[in-house]
C-alpha cells in the first residue's frame, strides 16, 4: 500500500488541457446549474469537484450547484429550483435517469439545454447532449483482461467472482452484462456474484463472505475501486493471493496498488470522473452556441461516450494523475 | 421533632397547599386526614423532597431543612411509602428494597448480602414467604405494598411517612402493619399516617391533623377521643352520616347473571352463583383469595372454563368486547394500570366505555359527550369539577370516581365493582354507596368486591364468602355479622 495517501494534497482536479481553438476565449456570461447525487462516494465526490474546478477556470461561467441528494424526490425539487432560476444550461447526473426523465424534459421544454452526465435519460427529448462512461465497455474490458490472463495460464473451468456495486442501478447491470459477454468469448462464465453498496465496509463484508464460499478463486472483478479498499483489506486478512483481481473506475489508490506490483490487484478499468469537467465545458459551449473545434460540425454532438481504458502495471504511469482520490 | 409552617404549593391551575401547618413529635403516630384532593399526598411529597414548596418552612430537630430532592430527604432520615406504588417491575424484590442504596462495594453488588438483608426486613414485616429473588412484576398488589414498606424500613429512618398504606391490604395485613408501626414508635421513630379509614386512625393514631382544601383546619387533635362527627365535619365542612343507604324494599327482579362451574386453574375453581336485577351481591374474602380473578373471568377478560349466562344468553368466553356490548361493566382494582388514560381528560376517560353511544357512523357527537361528562362530574362531585382536566392531575379518590362514572353511562345490566371505594374519602364514600344503591334500584345487577367487611355487609343484599379460590358460604347480608364473616374467611369455617 501507499504510505501516506491522505498526506499528499492532490485534491486538485486534473487541469483540463486548453481547447485547441479559440473556444476558451471568454464569451457571453452563462449560468450553469449542476445537480448530482450526494457525494458520499469517492467517484461522485470527484465528479462534483471536477465540475466545480472546471467552472472556476472560466470567468464567463456562473456555477450554480444544488444540494446533492440520494433521494429522487429531492433531486426533482432541486432541479425544479434551477429551472425556476432560469439558468442557461443544466448539467445533471441523475440518481436514476428514468426517474428524473420527466423533470429533464420539463427543463428542455422551458428552453434550457440539459447536459446529461453519465446515467442516461431514456427519452432523447429530455436532453441536448449526453456524455458518460461506457459501462458495458467497462465490463468488456475487465472480461477481456481476465479472460486473456486465464487463457495464458491455461486454466480451464476457472472460478470467477464478481463484486458488483449497487444492484438496482442500471449501470451495474450494464457492467455485468459486458463482463459476461466478454468472458463468453473465452468460454468462461461467472461463478458467483454479490453486490456491495459502493462503500469500503460493504466491500469488505461481501469479499469476506465470498472468500469463505470459494476456497480457490482464479479471478475477481470488483466494479468499484472505492469499495475495493475494503475488498483488498478482506483479501489481505484472509491471506489469499492465488487469483487475478481487476478493479473498476480508476482511483489513485488502485493505481498505486497496481504500480506496487505486489498486489493481487493487477489492473483496473477506467470510468473516469473527468467526464464532469468535459460536461461543464460542453454546457458552456452549448449555452454560448459554439461547436467543438476539432469537429467539423458547428454544434456540439448529441452524445459522447468515453472509452473505458484498462490500466495495468505497464501503462499506470500515464494515468496516475488522472486517478481520483477515493 | 418535625415542624412545617405555612406550606404553599401551587400547581398549574390548582393551589394544592395553601398554608399548611404540621408538627410531629418523636415516637408518635401522627394521622393526616382530609377529603380526596385535600392535599395530603402533596404535603408529604413536599416533605419527601419530590415537590419544592413555593412558600413555608420545614424544621427538623430544631434545624431548618429544605429537602431539594428525594435523595436529600432520605439523607435527612425521612422514608416514604407513596400512595401509588413506585416499584420497578423488572427488578427483584431485594433489588427494589435496596434500590439507590444497594449493598455494594466499589460499585459491585453483593447479591448475597442484599438477599439476606431483604429476607430480614421481610420477616420483620411478617412476610418471610416473599422471596427476595422474585421479580416484583409478578407479585400481587398486596405483596407489592409489603415490598414498598420493606423499602421504607430498609432505610435507617427517623420519620416514616405512609400514604394510605392500608388501601391495598386486608384486615389481617393491617393488623400486621400496626404491629410494625408500634415497634417503630417504640424506638422513637415518628410516623405520619394517612388513611381514609377512621377506625384505623382510632386504633393506631396518637394525634390527628385535618386538612381541607389545602389548609390546616385542625392541629393535634387526640386521635382516640375526638368524636367521629367532629372529624368528619372538619374534613367535609358538613355533617355526613357514615351509613349505608337502605336496601330496596321490593324484591329483586329477573336473573341477570348466572355463573356455573367457573374454573380458572391456579386462581379459583368451580364457582357458581347468580345475580338478579336490582340486587347487589358482595364477595368477601382475603386479599389473594381470587375475587378479582372471578370478576375478570365473568367479564371475559381472563380465560376460564364453565358457563356465564348474561340475561339469558350464554357468553362466549374471553371476549370483553361482547360483554360490554351486552351490558356489563368492570371497574377494576388498579385504576392507574387498568382503567385510566392518565394523559386524557376526565371526559375522555368517562366516555371510553360507551363511545358508540356518542357516535353516529363513527362520528362523535362532542357536545352531547361533554354534557354527559359534566353531568356525571357534578353527580359524583369529582373535584375540581372541570371535565377537560387531564385525569392524572386529579387526586387518587377523584380518579376512582371517574372510573366509576364510566359505567354510569349507557344501558348497563350488570356492574362488576372491584374495590370501588379504595382511597375514597368518608364523605365521597357515602355518596358512592348511594350511587351504587341507586343503580341497583334502577334494576341493574351489581357484583361487588371489597376488602372491608363492613362495606360488603352494609351495601350488599347477598354475600358470598370466598376463600382460596372457592365460594365457601352464601347468605343474605342481614344474616351475617362482621365477626362471623372474618372467622370464615380466615379459618375457613363455614358457619
Amino acid at each position: 500500500t501507499s504510505n501516506e495517501p491522505s498526506a499528499s494534497p492532490t485534491t486538485a482536479a486534473p487541469q483540463p488541457a486548453p481547447a485547441a481553438s479559440g473556444n476558451d476565449e471568454p464569451g457571453d456570461k452563462v449560468v450553469i446549474g449542476f445537480s448530482a447525487p450526494a457525494a458520499d462516494h469517492g467517484w461522485i465526490a470527484a465528479i462534483a469537484k471536477n465540475a466545480e474546478a472546471t467552472a472556476k477556470q472560466y470567468p464567463d461561467i456562473e456555477f450554480k450547484p444544488v444540494e446533492p441528494t440520494n433521494d429522487i424526490n429531492q433531486q426533482i425539487s432541486a432541479v425544479e429550483s434551477l429551472i425556476a432560476a432560469k439558468v442557461n444550461a443544466l448539467v445533471i447526473l441523475p440518481n436514476d435517469g428514468q426517474q428524473l426523465n420527466q423533470i429533464a424534459l420539463r427543463a428542455t421544454e422551458a428552453g434550457i439545454p440539459v447536459i446529461n452526465l453519465d446515467r442516461v435519460f431514456p427519452d432523447k427529448l429530455a436532453y441536448r447532449t449526453w456524455i458518460g462512461g461506457d459501462n458495458y465497455g467497462m465490463g468488456v474490458a475487465a472480461g477481456h483482461h481476465i479472460g486473456k490472463a486465464l487463457k495464458d495460464k491455461g486454466v480451464s473451468n476457472p472460478v470467477i467472482v464478481e463484486i458488483q456495486g449497487i444492484a438496482t442501478l442500471p449501470l451495474t447491470q450494464d457492467r455485468s452484462k459486458g463482463f459476461e459477454d466478454a468472458l463468453k468469448t473465452y468460454g468462461f462464465s461467472v461463478t458467483a456474484k454479490q453486490d456491495a453498496k459502493f462503500t469500503v465496509e460493504t466491500g469488505n463484508q461481501v469479499a469476506t463472505g465470498l472468500l469463505q464460499a470459494h476456497k480457490k478463486i482464479d479471478a475477481m472483478w470488483n466494479h468499484d475501486d472505492d469499495q475495493g479498499v475494503g475488498v483488498l483489506a478482506a483479501i489481505k486478512e484472509a491471506g489469499r493471493n492465488e487469483f487475478v483481481m481487476v478493479g473498476g473506475a480508476g482511483s489513485a489508490n488502485a493505481m498505486r496498488e497496481i504500480q506496487s506490483g505486489t498486489s493481487v490487484l493487477q489492473a483496473t478499468v477506467t470510468y473516469s470522473p473527468t467526464m464532469a469537467s468535459s460536461a461543464i465545458k460542453l454546457a458552456r459551449l452549448i449555452a454560448q452556441g459554439k461547436g467543438m473545434s476539432d469537429l467539423v460540425e458547428n454544434q456540439v454532438p448529441q452524445s459522447i461516450t468515453l472509452a473505458s481504458e484498462t490500466i495495468t502495471k505497464e501503462n499506470v504511469e500515464k494515468y496516475l494523475d488522472l486517478g481520483f482520490e477515493s | 421533632m418535625l415542624v412545617m409552617r405555612g406550606i404553599v404549593k401551587q400547581f398549574p391551575g390548582v393551589r394544592a397547599l395553601d398554608g399548611v401547618d404540621l408538627d410531629v413529635r418523636a415516637g408518635e403516630v401522627h394521622c393526616l386526614l382530609g377529603q380526596n384532593g385535600a392535599g395530603k399526598s402533596t404535603l408529604i411529597k413536599v416533605l419527601a423532597g419530590v415537590h419544592q414548596p413555593d412558600e413555608g418552612t420545614v424544621e427538623f430537630n430544631g434545624a431548618q431543612v429544605r429537602p431539594s430532592g428525594p435523595m436529600d430527604a432520605i439523607r435527612l432520615g425521612f422514608a416514604t411509602i407513596y400512595q401509588e406504588l413506585d416499584l420497578v417491575d423488572g427488578l427483584s424484590v431485594a433489588d427494589n428494597i435496596f434500590l439507590g442504596h444497594e449493598h455494594a462495594r466499589l460499585g459491585f453488588v453483593n447479591t448475597g448480602a442484599g438477599h439476606r438483608a431483604a429476607r430480614q426486613v421481610l420477616e420483620r414485616l411478617g412476610h418471610g414467604e416473599i422471596r427476595p429473588s422474585t421479580e416484583v412484576g409478578r407479585l400481587s398488589p398486596a405483596a407489592k405494598q409489603v415490598v414498598s414498606m420493606a423499602r421504607a424500613l430498609s432505610h435507617d429512618a427517623r420519620l416514616i411517612i405512609m400514604d394510605e398504606p392500608s388501601a391495598a391490604l386486608a384486615h389481617d395485613e393491617v393488623a400486621n402493619l400496626f404491629r410494625i408501626i408500634r415497634e417503630l414508635t417504640g424506638q422513637g421513630v415518628a410516623v405520619v399516617y394517612i388513611s381514609h379509614r377512621l377506625e384505623e386512625i382510632r386504633e393506631i393514631g396518637d394525634r390527628v391533623t385535618v386538612l381541607k382544601d389545602g389548609r390546616t383546619v385542625a392541629v393535634g387533635l387526640p386521635a382516640r377521643d375526638t368524636p367521629t362527627s367532629r372529624i368528619v365535619s372538619l374534613m367535609t365542612g358538613r355533617n355526613v352520616e357514615y351509613v349505608f343507604p337502605p336496601r330496596a324494599a321490593r324484591p329483586p327482579g329477573d336473573q341477570v347473571l348466572e355463573v356455573e362451574g367457573l374454573t380458572s386453574p391456579g386462581a379459583f375453581h368451580d364457582v357458581s352463583f347468580s345475580v338478579r336485577a336490582g340486587e347487589i351481591v358482595g364477595l368477601a374474602g382475603l386479599v389473594g383469595s381470587g375475587r378479582s380473578e372471578i370478576l375478570e373471568a365473568v367479564y371475559g377478560a381472563r380465560p376460564a372454563s364453565g358457563s356465564v349466562v348474561l340475561a339469558g344468553k350464554r357468553l362466549r368466553r374471553g371476549g370483553v368486547v361482547t360483554s360490554v356490548r351486552r351490558g356489563m361493566g368492570l371497574a377494576p382494582e388498579e385504576r392507574k394500570a387498568q382503567a385510566l388514560l392518565l394523559d386524557q381528560s376526565v371526559t375522555a376517560n368517562i366516555t371510553l366505555g360507551s363511545l358508540p353511544g356518542f357516535a353516529r357512523f363513527g362520528w362523535m357527537n362532542r357536545a352531547r359527550e361533554r354534557a354527559e361528562a359534566e353531568r356525571l362530574v357534578k353527580a359524583l362531585d369529582i373535584r375540581p369539577p372541570d371535565p377537560e382536566r387531564p385525569v392524572k392531575t386529579l387526586s387518587g379518590g377523584n380518579q376512582q370516581k371517574a372510573v366509576l362514572a364510566r359505567w354510569l353511562l349507557g344501558s348497563r345490566r350488570l356492574l362488576l365493582l372491584d374495590e370501588p371505594t379504595r382511597g375514597v374519602d368518608v364523605g365521597a364514600r357515602a355518596e358512592l354507596y348511594a350511587v351504587i344503591r341507586d343503580l341497583a334500584d334502577q334494576g341493574i345487577g351489581v357484583l361487588l368486591v371489597s376488602s372491608e367487611v363492613p362495606e360488603v355487609l352494609g351495601l350488599a343484599d347477598r354475600v358470598l364468602v370466598v376463600r382460596e379460590g372457592a365460594v365457601i358460604h352464601e347468605a343474605a347480608a342481614g344474616e351475617l355479622d362482621e365477626h362471623r364473616v372474618l372467622d370464615m374467611i380466615m379459618n375457613g369455617r363455614a358457619a
Partner: protein, 339 residues
C-alpha cells in the same frame, strides 16, 4: 343518605375549583407546543427571505416545497396514527416502493391508470394489514414485525421489477397528477391536503380516533373498557399501509416510474416528523397538525439548502443543529420517558 347528587355548596369550596385558569393553562400549553414549531418554521422562513430574497418567496418555490412534502406527508399522516396507537411502522418506505412497482408492472399498466392507482392502494393496504396481523394477532413486537416487512417488501419489489426502474407513459393520467395544476398548484398537493384533512377528522372527530388514543395510552384500560384492542391495532397498520399506497401514487406521478428504490429511509423521516411534532413515541398522545408542521420544518430545511447550494457535509451538520434547536424550542412537556 339518599341525596346522591351532592349539595352545590361544596363545589366552589374545593381546592382545584377554579376551572377557568386551569383551562387557560391547558390550552396555552397545547398552543405553546405548536407555537414552538411555528416559531421554528418562522425562523426558517426568515432565513430563506434573507439569504435568497429573489427565489425563496416565489409562488413556484412554495409549490415546489409542497410537492416535495406531499409524498412523505401522506405517509406521515399514517405514521401519526400508528405512533399515537403505541406502535411503530418501519416499513412505510418499503411498502410504498412495493406498491409503486406492483402498480407499474407491464401487466398492471395495460389496464390503465385507474387500475394502477387501485392496485397501489390495495397493495399498500394489504401489506399494512399483514403488518397488523403479525403484530396484533401474531403478537410480534411492532419494531421487529415492520422491520421484517421493510426488508421483505424491498426484496419483493426488487424481484418484481427485476431491479429495474419501471417507466410509466409520461402523458398518462398518473403523471397528470404532478403536471396538471389548479390555481397554479399541482393536483398532488391537493391530494396531500385532502389526506391531512381526512386524517385530522378521523383522529379528532370519530370513535376510531378516540380508540387510537386509548389503545396507545393504556392498552389494558382500553381492553377492559370493551375496546377490541387487537382489531384496532391491526386497523392502524392497515391505515398506515393505505397511506403508503396513496404515497406510491404520488411518487409515481412525480417520477413517472415505479422503482424498488423509492422511499429509501422514509421511515426515519416520517417518524422524526411525527416526534418533532410532539407525538410521544410511547403512544397515547399527539396531533396530526404537529406532525405536518414537523414535516414542513424538514422540507423547508432541505429547500433552503437547495436554494443556497450548501455542500452536503455542511448541510448535514446544519440539519442536526436545526433539529436540536427546533425541539429545544418546544421542549417536551409533562411525563416523558427519560427524566
Amino acid at each position: 343518605m339518599s341525596d346522591a347528587r351532592r349539595p352545590p355548596a361544596a363545589v366552589p369550596e374545593t381546592g382545584g375549583a377554579a376551572p377557568p385558569p386551569a383551562r387557560a393553562t391547558l390550552n396555552s400549553l397545547t398552543g405553546a407546543r405548536h407555537l414552538g414549531l411555528l416559531v421554528a418554521l418562522g425562523l426558517l422562513v426568515v432565513v430563506g427571505l434573507v439569504t435568497r430574497p429573489e427565489n425563496f418567496a416565489t409562488a413556484s418555490n412554495l409549490v415546489s416545497i409542497l410537492s416535495l412534502a406531499a409524498t412523505i406527508g401522506v405517509i406521515t399522516v399514517g405514521a401519526t396514527f400508528v405512533i399515537i396507537g403505541g406502535g411503530i411502522d418501519l416499513s412505510v418506505g418499503a411498502i410504498m416502493a412495493l406498491a409503486s412497482v406492483w402498480a407499474t408492472t407491464v401487466a398492471t399498466q395495460e389496464f390503465g391508470p385507474v387500475v394502477m392507482a387501485v392496485c397501489a392502494i390495495l397493495v399498500g393496504t394489504g401489506t399494512g394489514l399483514v403488518n397488523g396481523l403479525l403484530i396484533a394477532y401474531g403478537r410480534l413486537v411492532p419494531f421487529i414485525a415492520t422491520l421484517a416487512m421493510l426488508v421483505a417488501a424491498r426484496g419483493l419489489a426488487q424481484r418484481m421489477s427485476d431491479r429495474k426502474t419501471q417507466l410509466i407513459d409520461g402523458e398518462g393520467a398518473i403523471a397528470a397528477l404532478s403536471t396538471t395544476r389548479i390555481l397554479g398548484i399541482p393536483l398532488l398537493v391537493y391530494i396531500f391536503a385532502l389526506v391531512v384533512v381526512l386524517g385530522w377528522i378521523l383522529l379528532n372527530r370519530t370513535t376510531f380516533g378516540r380508540r387510537t388514543y386509548a389503545v396507545g395510552g393504556n392498552p389494558e384500560a382500553a381492553r377492559l373498557a370493551g375496546i377490541d384492542v387487537r382489531r384496532h391495532t391491526m386497523l392502524l397498520y392497515a391505515l398506515s399501509g393505505l397511506c403508503c399506497g396513496i404515497a406510491a401514487i404520488l411518487i409515481m406521478a412525480r417520477t413517472t416510474t415505479g422503482s424498488s428504490t423509492h422511499g429509501d429511509l422514509y421511515e426515519l423521516d416520517a417518524i422524526a416528523a411525527v416526534i418533532i411534532g410532539g407525538t410521544l413515541l410511547t403512544g397515547g398522545r399527539g396531533t396530526i397538525i404537529g406532525s405536518i408542521l414537523g414535516l414542513l420544518i424538514f422540507t423547508l430545511i432541505t429547500n433552503l439548502f437547495i436554494l443556497n447550494g450548501l455542500n452536503t457535509s455542511d448541510q448535514l451538520i446544519a440539519k442536526g443543529l436545526i433539529i436540536v434547536v427546533a425541539v429545544l424550542l418546544q421542549r417536551r412537556n409533562l411525563k416523558e420517558r427519560a427524566p
